[in-house]
């Protein structure tokens, strides 16, 4: 198996006024291609900070981060932008959709910055991605015409549209009811089976049960890193939910 993420002694500190906030204190681990990892931990433990660094959105204060064998620190700003554009799909904790812009256009956004893709392909890929999150009937709705869960799914479609090797999701099920979040987990499991590496930040232990590996952070340190013996199937969990739960 190929190692896709490798971090060594990663540190991230923020300067707030005079005070130094240590969000990550010396973290090391590696993730192989095809893994489905969940990252858990209390609020403020550094999950989002870690994910931002993994997604090349942020750079560590200290330590090494090798992405696909390349040092993220040595990449230029534009090289990192290209990496994000082609290899990474990022689902933000707060969906970050463009206001007054339709779901379709929101999903098309990353492809707009990919010179290899023309307008026709862009539309087609965006439709496919929206189809994958079961939103084909809402493509011309703007974010304020969509429910929270639907907005979350548009954000996921946007992360899938560039066919990334690595999907990073920050509390992608945070605002969803059980049924919808299980549906999403089924989607992620399917994507994982298709070969995509997934790093998924969550609060909920039952969500973590759908992944293959579980990393727990506390105060910016890894306190637990375990393989899940028998990952649950989201599809099965979905079918065992009481049908009239919503009513």
């Amino acid at each position: 198996m190929k190692t896709i993420i490798e971090i060594k002694d990663l540190k991230r500190e923020f300067l707030v006024g005079e005070e130094v906030v240590k969000a990550l204190r010396s973290i090391s681990f590696s993730i192989e291609e095809g893994e489905f990892v969940t990252i858990m931990g209390a609020s403020g433990s550094g999950k989002s900070t870690l994910l931002n660094i993994l997604g090349c959105l942020d750079t560590p204060t200290e330590g090494e981060y090798l992405l696909d064998g390349m040092s993220a620190r040595k990449m230029t700003k534009n090289e990192r932008a290209r990496f994000r554009n082609k290899k990474i799909g990022f689902v933000f904790q707060s969906y970050n959709l463009l206001p007054r812009t339709t779901a379709l256009e929101n999903v098309e956004l990353p492809l707009l910055y990919n010179p290899d893709i023309n307008g026709k392909q862009r539309r087609l890929k965006a439709m496919q991605a929206l189809n994958a999150v079961s939103l084909s009937d809402r493509i011309h709705h703007t974010p304020n015409q969509l429910s929270g869960g639907q907005q979350q799914r548009v954000a996921i479609a946007r992360a899938l549209v560039n066919d990334p090797v690595l999907i990073l999701a920050d509390e992608a099920t945070g605002n969803l009811d059980t049924r919808t979040s299980y549906e999403l987990m089924a989607l992620f499991q399917q994507l994982n089976e298709e070969g995509k590496t997934i790093v998924f930040v969550t609060h909920e232990p039952d969500i973590a049960g759908f992944s293959k590996r579980n990393i727990v952070l506390k105060d910016g340190k890894v306190i637990k890193d375990t393989l899940v013996a028998r990952p649950a199937s989201a599809l099965e969990a979905l079918s065992s939910l009481p049908v009239n739960e919503e009513e």
Binding site: N78, N85, N96, Y113, G119, N162
Partner: protein, 406 residues
């Protein structure tokens, strides 16, 4: 990123904020419209001055008695009796750069025909005066060289005189008009010339042989001035030098002493007048330029607000892979689009205003292509110049900070 996408994004951004975009453009619109209209007015007036003078005879030269003082003002020329008939004859015989020369002596008074009278000054000249002043005979004839020699009491008159003396519409030719009690036979009528640039009625004129005017009206032998035509406009300076040389010799003026006469060419007048109107044009252009600058600052201001307002959007674009230049060009293009559209509306408005002024106020107006091209260039430049800084700011945002921006 393809230019097509860039254009799409910029149009969308401007479209979502229609009113604000329009208000931003207003500065540019007003600036450009005033540049166009003001240059049109300035150029129109300068052209009409020049053509007005050419109408009077652009190669005309006037020789006046008395020298100019240091302010270029004449010191009581009518009191100085330095120009004589001999001067005129010498100029006619010796000057090579002059195609026509006429002595001029004016006599003020009343012209009377029947019960109508009209205050006018009679212009005594020779036959050349027609070609010098660009007058033409409409009906009848001009007096001849013989009439001049014989001091014949004949005259040709302009339309204003005809209108005021021959009120019943009778044919003036052959009639006798009394000027200061002296009877003059009308032998010709001049074609209408209208007002000159200075607003003088050029048709309010009676022309007679200068010999007659000298003998019967002014009763002296001096000339008030000598009118002449240079062989061509370009020869005006040469002609002036020649006239000066001949007259200095005639008047026995020693080298180093001041002339006791002055020579003025229309060319000189054109230069003076058009330089005045050029200064005016420049002033107008500066005012208009300042308003363009203000418009540009307006664009910069709005682009700044826009960049700040859309910090999250920019953060997201960068996060999903927009390169520095993608963001830079997006905002640069947006500001150029604003200023360019503003310029387009401004030009339309400016040209329209020019034509409205032209048709309502009857001002002479010339809209030149160069002022339109200039406006376009300035607008594009304004957009790039004032859009650059905000755009650069946007392109350098850190994605995480931008996404966290409230």
């Amino acid at each position: 990123m393809q230019v097509k996408n860039l254009i799409k994004i910029a149009f969308k951004a401007i479209g979502t904020n229609k009113l604000r975009s329009f208000l931003t453009m207003l500065g540019i619109i007003i600036g450009v419209a005033s540049v166009i209209a003001m240059l049109a007015i300035g150029q129109g007036s300068s052209q009409s001055i020049t053509s007005g003078i050419s109408d009077m005879g652009s190669n005309m030269m006037i020789i006046m008695p008395g020298s100019e003082n240091f302010r270029g003002l004449r010191m009581g020329p009518s009191n100085i009796q330095s120009l004589t008939v001999k001067d005129y004859k010498d100029l006619k015989d010796k000057a090579t750069y002059l195609s026509a020369v006429s002595p001029v002596t004016n006599g003020g008074g009343q012209a009377i025909y029947g019960s109508n009278n009209w205050p006018v000054s009679i212009l005594g000249a020779n036959t050349d005066i027609l070609s010098i002043r660009k007058y033409k005979i409409k009906s009848g004839d001009m007096f001849t060289e013989r009439d001049v020699i014989a001091s014949a009491k004949v005259c040709v008159i302009g339309k204003t005189i005809v209108d005021n003396l021959f009120v019943n519409g009778e044919d003036p030719i052959g009639k006798t008009v009394r000027f200061n009690k002296i009877p003059f036979k009308v032998i010709g009528v001049l074609t209408t010339k209208g007002e000159n640039t200075m607003g003088q009625d050029q048709d309010d004129v009676i022309i007679s042989p200068y010999t007659t005017v000298q003998k019967r009206i002014t009763a002296n032998t001096y000339l008030q001035s000598i009118f002449a035509s240079a062989v061509s406009e370009n020869m005006s300076d040469k002609a002036a030098e020649e006239i000066t040389a001949i007259l200095r010799q005639n008047h026995k003026i020693k080298a180093g002493d001041e002339d006791d006469f002055s020579v003025r060419s229309q060319q000189e007048l054109i230069k003076t007048l058009s330089s005045t109107s050029q200064i005016l044009t420049v002033l107008l252009a500066i005012i208009a330029g300042i308003s363009l600058l203000v418009g540009g600052i307006g664009i910069m201001n709005i682009m700044y607000v826009s960049v700040t307002e859309r910090t999250r959007e920019i953060g997201l674009r960068i996060a999903v892979g927009a390169q520095t230049n993608n963001v830079l060009y997006q905002f640069l293009f947006e500001s150029v689009l604003l200023s360019f559209t503003g310029g387009l509306i401004g030009i339309t408005l400016g040209v329209a205003t020019s034509f409205i002024i032209k048709s309502i106020l009857q001002w002479p107006i010339t809209v030149s292509t160069y002022s339109i091209l200039l406006s376009f260039a300035v607008c594009t430049f304004t957009g790039i110049f004032f859009g650059w800084y905000p755009a650069r700011k946007a392109s350098r945002l850190d994605p995480i900070e931008a996404l966290r921006y409230e």
